[in-house]
Symmetry: C2
Subunit: 457 residues, 2 copies
């Protein structure tokens, strides 16, 4: 057999025990906060019918969906003409009926419509599962990655938006972040800005341009707006809005005045004010909440609030985002059900916590104590103690007898096991076992009972 | 847009919040036991290179592997002749490079070989991830299902086998099962039985026949053995072994005597005796351990111990199984690394716990209290209390104002929320809120502080 070292498909990853412990810390923390706010977990199948997914992510997205080949003699049902012409695009539908989940939102919408008679609305669900995209792999971009979403469907209340701010604040604070900003905007304000300069149709052009303020500065944005057909007069009217300064309250006051001619713009102001009002009762732990009217992510999608979260401690793209989208389930024929949701970027959060050294030792702790012995007599002596340790809920291992002590110590060190218990013939005779603290190197002779008491403490 | 109700691919499932809570209870319990015994979690990608998987599961298995269509213009690289001949089998390799994980063992072997220089052996890993098989769906058989495996690689010690018995015992006891049997056998004993009748080559025929003892009885087994070419003299020598009775110790004594002419058979006896000896220090909690020499599952695969677990409380196939397989990683060019492992059948365990009504209320508890109010003033009054509840780690929700009280009560009932707090104008004036126990219907008037104290307790 060839001994070529095996590998994983490009853009996919193995997760080692150390990586899994850290990932579990992130996911468990976020899930516990979701639950505290009344969100409930669901899971959907990795494969969806291809027809469920196509047409939901735009033409570019459709190309990035991984299709699963039909089982058995898939060519028997294939279209002959497409085969002869080698037309991959058109052939796909006749040899593939299923595809891998591309995000969690479309499967959630499908779930809601399919199970609408079993669901109590408002339905607050969270979902933490992998998704797959045939993107070109690059640093920080994978073909398989976990999404971590919470969405509520069937409630127009802006209390939901306020709670999303609290969920971000609480989860990221619990993860150890100390300085991060939750940016909030509202699509209706962007619509209002376009409306007051009579460019309602150009809202995409407008937002694409002002979204770049951070990167290209005011002059760059103005140039881009001129290129996209806005007049100098338009720009003069928009400029104060783009350059909005001050507290969130001051910004809202300026917006109310700039948007007084736009009903939708004023509705956007009202919605933001309401979210801020809900939040006044409950001070945020560590987050800064910032109204940022240049925030336009996923504009084609969101119809109300828009969220984005950034850490201020390291250079990193957004670590979370979301918003409200009316008519979540319309794509599956159930009209008029509004949804709002947020997502945590687990891979980026992982990198941030790693860089800031924020993973707590307790979160990544594995086996607490390794019993080291030398022969079968030692094993027999060790086994009742091993059982007592485990009965006291201590993760414990006995290294099988026969290996040299150095090898057993290396095992403890490599697995970062903080304590070892040595059982040699002296120890068995005296009943005093050697407990070694692997970090300090300190050793002491104790009875099994004393070791147990010490490790439980 | 068509309003055909969307669905999932056949053989796949959505999991509702109630189902997820129960599944999490099962997986969390098993994982906590794995960890206590020093097993560490890894994850591998859902997609493996097709070449990693093919040839590992036999011809039938290969057909059941879900292949992923190459992205982009996949036909441009397709073999023309196979296309023209519509030869699905041969075309597959030229339009598909990746496939979905079929089990957790082959990806684990691949992982060990790929990461051998980072791994400390013995490597004790567990893995809980979905696998996919293009089987014909039927009751209890799905095309996507979770496997839940623990394996140790790089240790020949029979202590590992003993610990697997303990892990089954502890995990299934924790899940609430009261009466279950862990069957154990050893491939070397089966080899020994074949050897003593000079039918070493017919071990498969032998074991396939005696494996059916439960179903077809002794006469059936004898008939099948005769059909498979065994002589009456062979059968006379095997019969005492098949009909082995008594305690495990008595069975082993009989086997030792029957297999005295077979070195491999005696080795099998020694291995079983050693496992029993390890276990004598640590009484099993609820499991019965039974030496069953008719147990032959996965015979082509296992080389030492063989395990199978059955509940005695309801009629159900095996809820777990495993064994030792020498040369786990040989398929990827790393020879001589022995492995042993066990698996829990999560879907069957789910059905057993459901039938026996063993899911504890605490495991499936979601939101603990719903605050019900009637208008914006009520919301404003409720929000600080809501925050205090959550700060005390109580899952709490506020139903957005505006809905009728009946609707809010229905929401609490449907979500099985055990408590509601009612805030109307009387309550706001007096500061005494109504706390309702949704199960008993009992109501009392309490201050916010008293409610908090009561719900924390």
């Amino acid at each position: 057999m060839a001994s070529v070292k095996p590998s994983v498909p490009k853009g996919t990853r193995d997760f080692s025990p150390a990586e899994m412990a850290k990932r579990n810390f992130i996911f468990d923390t976020i899930k516990s906060v979701f639950r505290k706010y009344g969100y409930q977990q669901i899971e959907t199948p990795s494969m969806e019918n291809l027809s469920t997914l196509t047409g939901k992510y735009g033409d570019e997205g459709d190309k990035l969906i991984f299709k699963v080949l039909n089982s058995g003699d898939f060519l028997s049902k294939a279209n002959d003409q497409y085969l002869t012409e080698k037309n991959s695009n058109l052939l796909t539908a006749s040899i593939s009926e299923k595809a891998l989940r591309y995000d969690l939102t479309v499967p959630f919408a499908r779930y809601v419509v399919q199970h609408q008679n079993e669901i109590t609305f408002p339905f607050k669900r969270f979902q933490v599962q992998p998704v797959w995209r045939a993107d070109r792999p690059q640093r920080g971009r994978y073909r398989e990655f976990y999404q971590c979403d919470a969405d509520v469907v069937g409630s127009t209340s802006l209390l939901n938006e306020a709670e999303f701010v609290q969920i971000y604040d609480e989860a990221l604070s619990k993860l150890g972040l100390k300085d991060f900003t939750i940016k909030i905007n509202n699509r209706k304000i962007l619509s209002g800005v376009a409306e007051v300069i009579d460019k309602g149709d150009s809202i995409i052009d407008l937002t694409v341009a002002i979204d770049k303020l951070d990167k290209i500065g005011l002059d760059g944005v103005i140039k881009e707006l001129l290129d996209r057909g806005f007049t100098q007069a338009d720009i003069d009217r928009i400029k104060p809005v783009i350059l909005l300064q001050g507290t969130n309250g001051e910004k809202l006051a300026s917006l109310r005045s700039a948007l007084q001619a736009s009903t939708v713009g004023l509705q956007g102001c009202y919605e933001l004010e309401t979210v801020f009002r809900y939040l006044q009762y409950t001070p945020l732990k560590r987050a800064t909440l910032e109204l940022d009217i240049t925030l336009a992510r996923g504009l084609n999608y969101y119809t109300g609030a828009i969220f984005e979260v950034k850490t201020n401690e390291v250079a990193m793209g957004s670590i979370g985002g979301g918003g409200r989208y009316d008519d979540l389930t319309g794509m599956f024929g159930l009209k008029g059900l509004t949804g709002a949701g947020i997502s945590f970027g687990a891979d980026r959060i992982y990198d941030v916590l790693e860089e800031l050294n924020l993973f707590p030792a307790s979160a990544v702790a594995g086996t607490k104590v390794l019993i080291i012995c030398f022969d079968e007599a030692g094993e027999a002596y060790a086994l009742p103690l091993l059982q007592k340790l485990r009965n006291s809920n201590i993760s414990a291992e006995l290294y099988p007898a026969g290996a040299k002590i150095k090898k057993q110590m290396d095992y403890a060190n490599n697995k970062q096991i903080p304590f070892t218990i040595l059982i040699g013939s002296d120890e068995m005779q005296s009943g005093l076992l050697t407990l070694k603290n692997m970090e300090s190197g300190e050793q002491e002779k104790l009875t099994g009972e004393d070791i147990l008491a010490k490790l439980i403490a």
